[in-house]
Subunit: 107 residues, 2 copies
Amino acid sequence: MAEEEAAEKPTEAKEEVKRDENTVFVGKKGVMGYVLAVVTQFNNGAPSVLIKARGKLISRAVDVAEIVRNRFLPEIKVEDITIKTEELTSEDGSMSKVSAIEITLVK
Amino acid sequence: MAEEEAAEKPTEAKEEVKRDENTVFVGKKGVMGYVLAVVTQFNNGAPSVLIKARGKLISRAVDVAEIVRNRFLPEIKVEDITIKTEELTSEDGSMSKVSAIEITLVK
């Protein structure tokens, strides 16, 4: 008289961490909002945060990374910085190129 | 606050001097002038060129690197990108901080 019950699958409780959740896109708002976003992600346990920006906002992305490191989380390091060119299609169908940056911060 | 003046490297720097010659400081002029400066240095035999910029000009430095690679010298690679914070003293003696970038391009 042996009864066997199937083992519960652990997959349901599994944490899913999407890469996008650890990304901060720098836009036209004030710098400190993006700084706060990065700091919050690290405080929530993210091992790394990717800061992305395009065009003239590239300099703001650098500001964000530097302020996070110098003022809030001194233990954070810049793991990698990459630059590239992205093509944008405007509403009238014309193409334009814009520079982009990705800064990877790690604990 | 306190600046370190000590500890100059014992092996004095021929390479350091050479490095300055291979440096392009990106300012407020048009992008293509800086692109031309970088391309000229490579064509004159420089093995590497360092592109530097501060503040809002950081995005222009990225443009310069991308245009050099994509339009003029496809064999050039980005060897390294570093970001840092520099302190500026204005004429009235007040201090301000500004982000800076250095992009090293190599043949």
